[in-house]
């Protein structure tokens, strides 16, 4: 037989010897030229409570998607105000991939995102409001329907309302009937809004 054995711990010892291991050194390693070192630094920073600012700064300049993913995982794990603010900032990025990654990360932080959701849904940038609705798509929070109703009742931008009404077709209940009817009245010349509102109402009534 050709089975062999080697203790993984031996490899651990070799790795441990190579670098200093504290929060300050992990933050420095975030800009190491080697992506593997950057990934490990991002992973190790999960145990460093004040590391969100350094992670956010690296996230915004990081070009390697595998490093970005781990930075986002750690920011999600930390979930503090700086981390959430950093993710929100990514929604304003010109980089579509980064925006989508931030949306996915925010979906995993329902309790941390909830306090700022109303504010996000009233952002001056309609694209940011659409991304906030995207976050609601699978945010496990009891206020999701309430937030969506706020959007379709008050948002002046048709694309924001269209995104929200699509989602209400999936998550809406009888609580949204009136808001959906009002939405059609607010945008009488937008055939898509009428179509999507009727579809949502039909789904809600059928459920």
């Amino acid at each position: 037989m050709a089975f062999i054995k080697k203790q993984p711990e031996k490899v651990i010892e070799q790795c441990e010897r190579k670098r200093e291991r504290n929060c300050a050194s992990f933050e420095l390693q975030l800009s190491d030229p080697n992506p593997t070192a950057r990934r490990w630094a991002a992973r190790d920073l999960a145990d460093c409570l004040d590391s969100s600012a350094a992670l956010v700064a690296q996230l915004l300049r990081e070009q390697n998607s595998s490093v970005r993913e781990i930075i986002l995982t750690t920011l999600t794990k930390l979930g503090d105000e700086v981390a959430v603010a950093g993710l929100v900032n990514c929604l304003r990025s010109e980089d579509a991939a980064l925006r989508n990654e931030a949306i996915e990360a925010m979906k995993m932080l329902p309790d941390e995102v909830a306090p700022i959701m109303s504010q996000l849904l009233q952002d001056t940038d309609s694209d940011v409001r659409i991304f906030a609705v995207n976050v609601l798509e699978s945010l496990q929070h009891e206020q999701v329907e309430e937030w969506l109703n706020e959007v379709i009742e008050h948002d002046a931008h048709v694309n924001v309302c269209a995104t929200a009404v699509d989602l209400l077709g999936e998550v809406g209940t009888s609580y949204s009937w009136e808001a959906l009817e009002n939405l059609k009245a607010r945008f009488p010349d937008e055939p898509y809004i009428s179509f999507a509102s009727d579809l949502a109402l039909k789904r809600i009534r059928g459920s």
């Binding site: 037989m1 050709a2 054995k5 203790q7 490990w40 993913e69 999600t76």
Partner: protein, 280 residues
């Protein structure tokens, strides 16, 4: 003395703590399962109530009680040749691809996690011996890990019930096992073929040394994790794999909603995830 009970708040407090330590999330429906095991440990440690026990659990320097409780809380149900189609894929597609592209010397490295009581890593070893001619040309290293130290000890002993061996072909049962009165014990050659180690996938210090694997089997574990823990596991496997390395998940599990780091490979026997060849 009044029987020990847990309030809903205590259950929530424990659930949050245990999740942070292990990544394992208990739904409300698991309340009975969790309460039963917690009360068992409160009694065994003479803690008297949940509050005292929880203090031990949180602040004990050795972490021994947390390990004992983790051993009780983990589900260890598996059997030989479970989801055999992936082993077929291993020998018919994955290994030929790895060996064809292999540039460096050294063994082919396989990580099977969680090991549970050893059925999966031993199945892999048997499958290679029986169905992969390359075993005569290549060295293979199989490492298998679990968070539960008790189950690792059981895996090393390699003694199995009728239920564990029910899907094994009779000729393989006869070839690799002997009945020792207690159960079917796997032969020494196979027991020595697998290295068992204790690993908590959520602890970076535990997984740091796990690198340069060609294939990882992680089947029916992610279903017990929440989204964030799945993502952490996916990230860990990424750094544990060589460029072009393969990740095999359970049939009900998918990487597509968890991580964008892997490519989907559709082989005739199974769908497997692969780290890019160009990955740095």
């Amino acid at each position: 003395m009044a029987p020990i009970t847990l309030s809903h708040e205590e259950f929530l407090k424990f659930r949050e703590f245990f999740y942070r330590k292990t990544g394992i999330q208990f739904e409300d429906s698991k309340r009975y399962f969790v309460d039963k095991r917690l009360i068992e440990r409160i009694e065994a440690t003479d803690s008297g109530n949940f509050r005292n026990y929880f203090i031990t659990l949180r602040f004990e320097t050795s972490g021994q009680e947390l390990q004992t409780l983790t051993n009780l809380m983990t589900v260890n149900e598996t059997y030989f040749f479970r989801e055999e189609y992936q082993f077929k894929c291993l020998v018919s597609s994955i290994l030929p691809e790895i060996t064809a592209l292999r540039k460096k010397q050294g063994p082919i490295r396989i990580w099977s996690v969680p090991s549970s009581s050893g059925e999966e890593p031993y199945s892999i070893a048997m499958y290679l011996l029986e169905y992969w001619p390359g075993i005569n040309l290549w060295d293979v290293e199989i490492i298998s890990s679990d968070i539960d130290t008790k189950i690792i000890a059981q895996a090393r002993r390699g003694i199995y019930s009728d239920r564990s061996i029910q899907h094994l072909p009779k000729n393989l049962l006869e070839k690799y096992f002997h009945y020792n009165g207690e159960g079917y014990q796997i032969c020494d050659d196979l027991r020595q073929a697998v290295e068992f180690t204790k690993v908590n996938l959520m602890k970076p210090s535990d997984v740091r040394g796990y690198r340069e694997f060609d294939i990882i089997f992680c089947r029916n574990l992610l279903i017990y994790f929440d989204d964030l823990s799945r993502r952490q596991a996916a990230d860990t496997f990424y750094d544990a794999l060589n460029p072009g390395g393969f990740l095999c998940l359970g049939h009900s599990e998918s990487m597509s909603r968890v991580s964008s780091l892997y490519q989907v490979r559709k082989f005739s026997d199974a769908v497997i995830y692969q780290k890019s060849m160009e990955a740095q």
